[in-house]
Amino acid sequence: MSTKENIFKNLIGKNGRALGSLGYFIILMLVFLIGAPEVMMRPNLHQSVFVMLPVIMFMVIPLVFLVTAGEIDLSFASTFGLSAYIFALLLKAGLDPLLCILIGILSGAVVGILMGCLVVYGRLSSLVASLGALFFIRGFLFVASDSKSISFMEISDHWIYDVLVGKLFGVPMQVYWAALFTIFSYYLYRKHVFGIHIHHVGDNPDSAAQMGINVNWVRISAFMYVGLGAALAGIFSCLINFTWWPTQGFGYLLLALAAVFIGGTPTWGGVGTIVGAVFGVGVIAYMEVGVVAMGMSGVWRQFFNGLIIILAILGHRFHGGRVR
């Protein structure tokens, strides 16, 4: 084998999962383009997708860290609502919007830390513990808000609205922020000691502990990052809609998780890809509109969503199983 071939093989081997996700995204877009060329060529369709896509990105990217660490979190869909609620309440109380945002983000991180402590020190399965937290936090929101939404149209006059969710060159500002967040996360994941320890803990927690890595702290901080991302998503969602409502974010639960796995991060921990997750989010964001664009009635939507998810995950099997 020549070195050139080797380098090429290596490149594919190392990025197989991310490239696979890119492949699914391209295939999906081609199918929609062929199925509904007129609709898919319309710029306003893409604009509408790009309004909410960044919100999903804020949730999904941190989930890649957590899944790589060998854990899972469902509670993020409620943390989304809780942090957004805190943001909305503080805003209504007349606090400076920037401060409201910072406190909102902080609250998400705190919920993440608590979630992590519950799993680590309570020695609970993260799936079950976070399922409990998902309903608990959402239940709290219903009770606390008396199931009433909060609207704040006045925010659109504040400078922070333009900076966070205004438009730049015709593209929603949240796209830039999500891109910045994703790039930062990519470096954190691949080039920073935090991300590397996450890989070690997810791969073999005993080995990591024997090498002096603080496994508990790594796990808790991964949960914290998920909480922080969920809070960002919740606050951006509030700003985009000028409203907080009691079920806000709940619908993203399964879609965000699906994006992680379609993105090529496997369930077993130790490996994952941020770049793949970006395409995973792309698949999720477009499949909703695409199926309808192709003229299928709304009742078919979930059916096709499911089909797309299963096919994508089946495809990832061919990138090789787990190395032991």
Binding site: V193, Q210, G212, N214
Partner: protein, 248 residues
């Protein structure tokens, strides 16, 4: 000679089962200590306590004359103690580089990794310990390596950090004859460089060959300690071990 590490009256139990009972051992600078005992004698527990993986229930851990509280694996590595664990403590899905630097990464400020330097150092180490396969480079996953090569990665990690004491827990288990010889050569080199080794093995011939001093462990207690010049040959060592255990 002064001790690098000393354990004094260390006890450890796991849910009612006593694994270590007031065990006291020390390792001096530049010596190779062989720890022997039957299966279940507490060898692995003693080692894991010594290197900070298990926290002792009771007793003292003294590093170069100073007692250390809240002993843990991270502190052990900072104190210059590196371990080649029985299970090798590797992450099979991660690259050789990431495994070699696991827990002791070369960092810039703010915790970003000095990636190029790590790869360069890892490639150098791989050559030093003699990886035979040319296809292996530092960025391939450990999961693709053979048992001997994995042991090589674990040993490379111990060398890189310039440890003053290297603990080898059953390092020759499941290795071929040639690979075993490589491990012995490695121990010899460490000794020549003036550093210390704590060697755990259940093959008494292996332990006899490379150690200067022996510690016999039985049911969590240190039952005998002797120097190599007190006995003649591995058979004599075996007899001493049996006698010590039967009296206990």
């Amino acid at each position: 000679m002064s001790a690098i590490i000393e354990l004094k009256n260390v006890s450890k139990s796991f849910g009612g089962i006593t694994a270590l009972k007031k065990a006291s051992i020390k390792v001096d600078v530049g010596e190779v200590v062989g720890l022997i005992g039957d299966n279940g004698a507490g060898k692995s527990t003693l080692i894991k306590t010594l290197v900070g993986v298990h926290a002792p229930d009771d007793g003292q851990i003294i590093i170069r004359g100073n007692e250390v509280k809240n002993w843990n694996a991270s502190k052990a590595r900072e104190a210059g103690i590196e371990t080649v664990f029985q299970d090798r403590a590797l992450c099979p899905q991660q690259s050789i580089v990431w495994n070699i630097f696991m827990g002791k990464e070369l960092k810039h400020r703010f915790g970003f990794i000095r990636e190029k330097e790590q790869v360069r150092e890892a490639n150098k180490l791989i050559r030093e310990i003699g990886f035979t396969s040319k296809l292996i480079d530092a960025e391939s996953p450990v999961g693709n390596l053979s048992g001997g090569e994995r042991q090589g990665v674990a040993i490379a990690r111990a060398i890189y950090n310039n440890a003053e004491l290297i603990v080898l827990d059953e390092p020759t288990t499941a290795l071929s004859l040639i690979e075993t010889q490589k491990v012995f050569d490695f121990v010899d080199n460490v000794k020549k460089s003036g550093r210390s080794v704590l060697f755990i093995g259940h093959n008494i011939y292996h332990v006899y060959d490379i150690s200067d001093r022996f510690i016999v462990l039985d049911r969590g207690e240190v039952v005998h300690q002797l120097n190599k010049n007190d006995i003649e040959g591995p058979e004599a060592l075996m007899k001493v071990m049996k006698d010590a255990v039967s009296k206990h």
